[in-house]
């Protein structure tokens, strides 16, 4: 994880620090799954820091199931509300990848509603 300058939240560059080719949902699907990203990158970062930043640029793309398991799964695991999740996790992307932030918002909201239900 890229360390930030004092006063800035630590940043995770998915392409550089995890994989340029995100894969399926679970470990059993294959390499570079959403579950692997959540368990080995995202959750340890959230345990060590109150606020982190995730840079989505540079990958081949983000399959829906990868995003749902990675970020929706984080909400389910830590039993976060939607607002709490977005307070702690900031997203960065440019150009056409901005649509993936909308996808993440969709998955996080559904996961949070499921947690509350």
């Amino acid at each position: 994880m890229t360390s930030g300058v004092a006063g800035f939240s630590p940043s995770i560059k998915v392409a550089a620090e995890f994989s340029r080719t995100p894969g399926g949902r679970y470990y059993t699907d294959g390499p570079d799954s959403g579950e692997k990203f959540r368990e080995e990158v995202l959750l340890p970062a959230l345990q060590a820091n109150d606020i982190i930043s995730v840079d989505l640029d540079g990958t081949r793309g983000y399959p829906s199931s990868f995003l749902e398991e990675a970020f929706g799964g984080t909400v389910r695991k830590l039993k976060l509300t939607e607002s709490e999740f977005f307070r702690r996790v900031k997203f960065k992307s440019t150009g056409e990848f901005e649509i993936y932030i909308d996808d993440i918002k969709f998955h996080v909201k559904r996961a949070a509603d499921g947690v509350r239900a």
């Binding site: 995100p22 699907d29 799954s33 081949r60 399959p63 990868f66 056409e96």
Partner: protein
């Protein structure tokens, strides 16, 4: 039998010819008894499936069977050939092509009949082949080869249509099967450039990345190509998680097996990508919503409603798992068509659903014959 001088039988001594005859008779008896016990047991390789009894539906009599005949192979050995239709395209000739595959499976995997000839495919009958149909053919040949436990041979290659031979060669069919006598293909006269097959049993992003890289090399840069990547991963994930999920059913290949290909038509500037699996089919694994969907197949008057089920999954998202966080895979596959003219076609079971980017609508239809797997195909204009 009289006892001899030393208490032994008085059978006269056997000649060498008689001994050899008795030996051959005993050997053949052992082989016949092995064959008859094997015909009631599994014949598939032990590494493939736990329940290795191949069971495929008998093709309906209403569907015309492909032409079958006996002919000599490359070593003058007698073969039983199954002739595919000359127009080998699922888009333009679905019923004949799907029927051909159904009859082929029934021929290959039914209980072996005594003195039955080995079977072959007569490729020289094919005059036009589409990349999607070629992908399905590769998968079926792969499974056939796995089933019989030895490599298939290509026959009458000098009589094949050069464009058809070029497509199968360039797609890497004979490398995939390690065909021992495959001849290099001459240059094609057609405008379709095809990529080599990729196959696997896991969701591997690098393989999708690799195929997209090669696709852009022949087609040029593809706008919003990350959505193609997303769709390919979702298709692979479908194969891995759902296609082979039916317990006790024989598939003939390791669970999760998928095949992927791509092509570019230089004349019409049309790019295609396709993923095929030999699984149970999307409609079979989807839950039915509401009373109407439960009674619709009953009142469908002899047809199925597989097409409607696939269409519903594409439009509304639906999943075998019925978990609230799942079911977004099929809608994700349509996203590239927000940026390009073209279509997404999904054929599974007897159903077919097609999303057209121009009309932004999804149409569905039900065929009389099932393809025998799931084909997901994107076609976009550059």
């Amino acid at each position: 039998m009289r006892a001899g001088k030393r208490g032994r039988s008085s059978l006269k001594k056997l000649t060498e010819i008689q001994k050899r005859w008795l030996w051959f008779r005993a050997r053949n008896q052992v082989r016949r008894s092995r064959r008859s016990s094997q015909s009631s047991e599994s014949v598939s390789p032990p590494t493939v499936q736990q329940n290795p009894n191949p069971k495929f539906i008998v093709p309906p009599t209403s569907i015309i069977a492909p032409h079958q005949y006996e002919g000599r192979g490359s070593r003058r050995k007698l073969f039983h050939y199954v002739r595919p239709p000359s127009l080998f395209s699922l888009r333009r000739n679905f019923v004949e092509v799907a029927s051909y595959f159904q009859h082929l499976r029934h021929q290959i995997y039914r209980d072996k009949v005594k003195h039955e000839l080995p079977r072959g495919i007569d490729f020289e009958a094919i005059e036009t082949v589409s990349p999607g149909a070629a992908l399905v053919m590769a998968a079926e040949l792969y499974r056939w080869q796995l089933f019989i436990g030895r490599r298939l041979h290509a026959v009458h290659q000098d009589r094949w249509n050069p464009d058809v031979a070029y497509i199968f060669n360039n797609m890497g069919l004979f490398d995939l099967l390690d065909t021992p006598n495959a001849q290099p293909a001459k240059a094609a006269t057609g405008s379709v450039e095809v990529l080599r097959y990729r196959s696997g049993t896991e969701v591997v992003g690098r393989k999708c990345d690799d195929m997209l890289l090669h696709l852009t090399e022949i087609s040029g840069p593809i706008h919003a190509e990350h959505f193609i990547y997303d769709g390919l991963i979702e298709a692979l994930k479908n194969s891995k998680q759902h296609a082979y999920s039916e317990p006790g059913q024989w598939f003939g290949v390791p669970a999760g097996t998928w095949f992927m290909s791509g092509s570019f038509d230089k004349a019409n500037k049309i790019l295609t990508a396709a993923v095929y699996d030999l699984g149970v089919g999307i409609p079979h694994t989807l839950p039915r919503a509401g009373m109407w969907e439960h009674i619709r197949p009953v009142i469908s008057l002899g047809t199925t409603d597989d097409g409607q089920m696939i269409k519903a999954a594409m439009e509304y998202g639906r999943t075998r798992t019925q978990l609230p966080e799942r079911g977004n895979g099929l809608p994700t596959m349509m996203r590239i068509l927000d940026h390009h003219k073209g279509y997404l076609r999904i054929i599974s079971g007897t159903g077919e659903a097609l999303y057209d980017s121009l009309s932004k609508t999804t149409t569905s239809k039900n065929h009389k014959v099932a393809l025998g797997g799931t084909l997901i195909e994107w076609s976009i204009s550059q």
